[in-house]
């Protein structure tokens, strides 16, 4: 395969997808105050349109879009590339960022009588920064450029955790920062080793030069460890529950639904795109085992939480575990790899939509009741039917019941584990599903029971509908046509060899 280093038609769109939210960050800080919200919300339709155009171009070309920045191709210059999974992730990010933005207006409007407020300015700037960083992660073609993207993502995500300013949120943010910086350093060390060994940082060029030797294994281990810390894979998950549960709901949705997927996406890029030359059985087994442990431990811990937001956060720890089954089920040039790849991608999407919807709902519920103690939910479903409908539908996808994206993901993974003879991976998938049913029941059962409940305030119908729309999207993913799975095959290395 020839390396993808020359600009193709549609390539300039990739630069725009990154620069648009980055320009929004600069503009928001320069103008300050109320303008930040207007800039952020104003950019959301443009960003979505760009993502849509990129997806159309990728589909039309049937091959990745490439842009060599400054007309200076790699190895000295930087290339951006968008393949099938890049385009899908750009679209999902544009949708969830927009949803979070419109959902957050009620909480992060600049109060009357003040020119600028701390939490509002921070939220709108960091939301756009996360968007820019994720877009760069999805289309970056250069390992160091991707490091810059990781740094952008970290420095945008951490302040959102402590935006409420309570002492426990500061402690959670600091712990998140330390884990994330540890991850950055490990990743950067690995990048430096790869450059030292092969003299290039370009993913496409590296994939042709990489040999299974000691330095590559060292670099791969360091980079993977760093990315696992940022993705909060068990046993490096300790920072996630306090961070995601203490952030405001709009931020939690973005952090849980999208931000942890950013570092996971880089782990996919590393193993599927940079290192296809390495034997895949051993790393696949290690990552799959950690993922399985996460799915079980995370679910068990979710079952024991007293607060709804903490339960939802521990559920993220479990659902991240499933993502890592894509490594044993999708790596390598096997007939069944495409099936496992599709399952992994579907799990990213289904969890992103379902989890964002559940955090939005948890936030609405906490505002309406004044608390989010699960023990105090008796009769709440009667008072907040739409919110609980959303929690139930999101939970359906987390459990993996049909029809839902979560079901589709698990079904594909189960089929792959059968087709590949790796039946062992079906155990955590099934056990995790049962446990998820348990923790979703824990939310719904008291809420549906008889009881009198007093609402402090009735949630806005528009915000409930935003959450419901995301949950419905998670369900609709279950009906993804074959065309979707063909689309995410575009640009996958070894795809040609493992055609089903």
């Amino acid at each position: 395969m020839t390396p993808l280093i020359a600009t193709t038609a549609g390539g300039p769109l990739l630069v725009l997808a990154i620069l648009l939210p980055a320009a929004g960050v600069l503009l928001s800080l320069a103008l300050g105050g109320r303008a930040a919200e207007k800039v952020a919300l104003g950019l959301t339709p443009l960003g979505f349109a760009l993502a849509w155009l990129i997806a159309m171009q990728v589909a039309a070309a049937g091959a990745p879009l490439v842009y060599a920045i400054g007309g200076l191709p790699p190895p000295l210059g930087i290339a951006l590339r968008a393949d099938g999974i890049s385009a899908v992730m750009l679209l999902v990010t544009a949708i969830i960022v927009a949803a979070a933005g419109f959902y957050a207006r009620a909480k992060f409007a600049t109060p009357d009588g003040t020119a600028e407020s701390r939490s509002a300015l921070t939220f709108w700037i960091m939301l756009q920064a996360i968007w820019a960083a994720l877009n760069l992660i999805f289309v970056g073609g250069d390992l160091f450029n991707l490091y810059v993207a990781l740094e952008l993502l970290t420095f945008a995500a951490v302040p959102l955790v402590c935006i409420d300013g309570r002492p426990e949120t500061l402690a959670a943010a600091l712990r998140y920062l330390l884990f994330a910086l540890f991850g950055s350093i490990c990743y950067l060390l690995g990048v430096a080793l790869l450059y030292g060994a092969y003299g290039t940082l370009d993913i496409s060029l590296l994939s042709q030069r990489v040999q299974p030797e000691a330095i590559v294994w060292t670099a791969a281990a360091l980079m993977t460890a760093g990315l696992l810390a940022k993705t909060a894979l068990f046993p490096l998950h300790l920072w996630l529950p306090p961070a995601h549960a203490n952030a405001p709901a709009a931020a939690s949705a973005v952090l849980s639904g999208l931000v942890v997927k950013g570092s996971f996406f880089l782990a996919l890029r590393l193993w599927f795109y940079v290192l296809p030359a390495l034997p895949s059985a051993a790393p696949g087994a290690v990552l799959g085992a950690l993922g399985s442990a996460a799915a079980v431990v995370g679910s068990v811990l979710a079952l024991r939480q007293a607060r709804l937001k903490l339960l939802v956060a521990y559920s993220t720890v479990a659902q991240i575990g499933y993502l890592f089954l894509v490594f044993p089920l999708g790596l390598g040039a096997h007939a069944w790899s495409a099936l496992g790849w599709g399952g992994g991608l579907m799990q990213i999407l289904a969890h992103a939509f379902a989890k964002a919807a559940m955090f939005f709902s948890a936030g609405l519920l906490a505002e309406a009741l004044g608390h989010d103690q699960i023990a105090g939910l008796r009769g709440a479903a009667r008072a907040l039917p739409l919110t609980f409908l959303t929690l139930g539908l999101g939970g359906l996808s987390l459990m993996g019941l049909p029809p839902s994206g979560g079901f589709e993901a698990k079904w594909l993974m189960l089929r792959t584990s059968a087709a590949s003879g790796q039946w062992i991976w079906s155990l955590p998938i099934l056990a995790g599903g049962l446990l998820a049913a348990g923790y979703v029941y824990r939310i719904l059962a008291p809420a549906l029971a008889e009881g009198e409940i007093e609402l402090r305030a009735r949630p806005q119908r528009a915000r409930e509908l935003i959450a419901l729309a995301l949950a419905m999207t998670a369900l609709v993913l279950g009906f993804a046509p074959q065309g979707f799975f063909d689309f995410i095959e575009i640009g996958r290395p070894l795809a040609a060899m493992s055609a089903p």
Binding site: A22, A30, G70, L193, A197
Partner: protein, 317 residues
């Protein structure tokens, strides 16, 4: 035999020894001082490796700005009560962490020693490209940073801005818009004032010089900007000037100026030279210097704000 190899070996032992001492030091302040000295020694190592650009950056950031940041943080930690400072980690945890660090260091040392010789590198390509398309500069480092890897450089400045906003965001709601607390003591020592009065103008001049010659000689926007930042900090520590209000319009514009100008010119590249972030060959050098001028400004403003911390006191509304 030249004396240089012996000096190199001595330098290497000194760096490792100082690193170990910094980790082992019981006293926080001693540890910070060790770290600053370590940064300066590392700068010497980079000079011996013929990387003066990296040496300048290491001295300015590793020795200078980070040192001030750590001393400030150390002073605040020292003011905490014993029980607020948190428990020290258990012995078992220390042993596990130490063993893991040793293992990683050993693996790194092993693979670095077994690197191919000569190592594959893009350095000749970068040297050839310095006066090639889109740059026209004598210093290949600057050419790579501003032209070939413009995207990295521009986005790193956005990271710097996010860090500043992140620091501001941990302040109190009521303080938003106000200035950070003064850096120095109410009555700074006479020596500090004298030093700032004499050093700051000279240092500022050197900072501008380092940035200006960066196009053709070692130096550049980051090194120059970091030096300017250090001089502003020195002036603030001597209370010759105070940290600015964080809602000041000039401050906001100075912060975003570097990446914003870079972004606008990069965008215009599509029309002027056919690609985003491409420079028309005839104007490459003036355009690069124009971008770098604003980068220096943004860096010189951002670094002291990171040290100054969140806004303090009541904002005037």
């Amino acid at each position: 035999m030249s004396v240089l190899p012996i000096l190199d070996v001595g330098l290497a032992f000194l760096v490792v020894g100082l690193a170990a001492w910094t980790v082992a030091a019981r006293n926080l302040f001693a540890s910070v001082v060790g770290y600053v000295a370590y940064g300066l020694l590392l700068a010497l190592v980079w000079i011996r490796l013929y990387a003066p650009d990296v040496a300048l950056t290491e001295a300015a950031v590793g020795g200078g700005v980070t040192g001030v940041l750590l001393i400030t943080a150390g002073k605040r930690l020292g003011a905490l009560e014993k029980d607020e400072a948190g428990a020290t980690p258990a012995l078992a945890l220390k042993i596990v962490a130490g063993a893991l660090a040793l293992f990683v260091a050993g693996a790194l040392a092993w693979v670095v020693v077994t690197l191919p010789d000569p190592a594959p590198t893009l350095a000749p390509a970068a040297a050839a490209a310095a006066d090639g398309p889109g740059a026209g500069l004598g210093n290949p480092i600057t050419a790579v940073l501003i032209s070939y890897r413009s995207f990295d450089t521009m986005l790193e400045k956005v990271v710097l801005i996010l860090a500043v906003i992140g620091v501001w965001s941990v302040g109190a709601d009521s303080a938003w818009g106000a200035a950070p607390a003064p850096l120095g003591r109410p009555q700074p020592a006479g020596a500090m004032v004298l030093l700032a009065q004499i050093l700051a103008p000279i240092g500022a001049l050197i900072g501008v010089h380092i940035f200006w010659v960066g196009a053709d000689a070692p130096g550049g926007a980051f090194q120059g900007g970091a030096l300017l930042a250090a001089m502003w900090m020195a002036a603030m520590m001597a209370r010759l000037t105070e940290p600015p209000r964080i809602d000041a319009r000039w401050l906001r514009l100075a912060l975003v100026a570097g990446p914003a100008v870079f972004l606008v010119i990069g965008f215009a590249g599509l029309g002027l030279a056919g690609d985003f972030f491409a420079f028309p060959p005839a104007f490459a050098k003036p355009l690069i210097l124009f971008i770098e001028t604003f980068m220096v400004l943004s860096i010189a403003v951002a670094l002291p704000l990171l040290v100054a911390g969140p806004p303090n006191g009541r904002s005037a509304r």
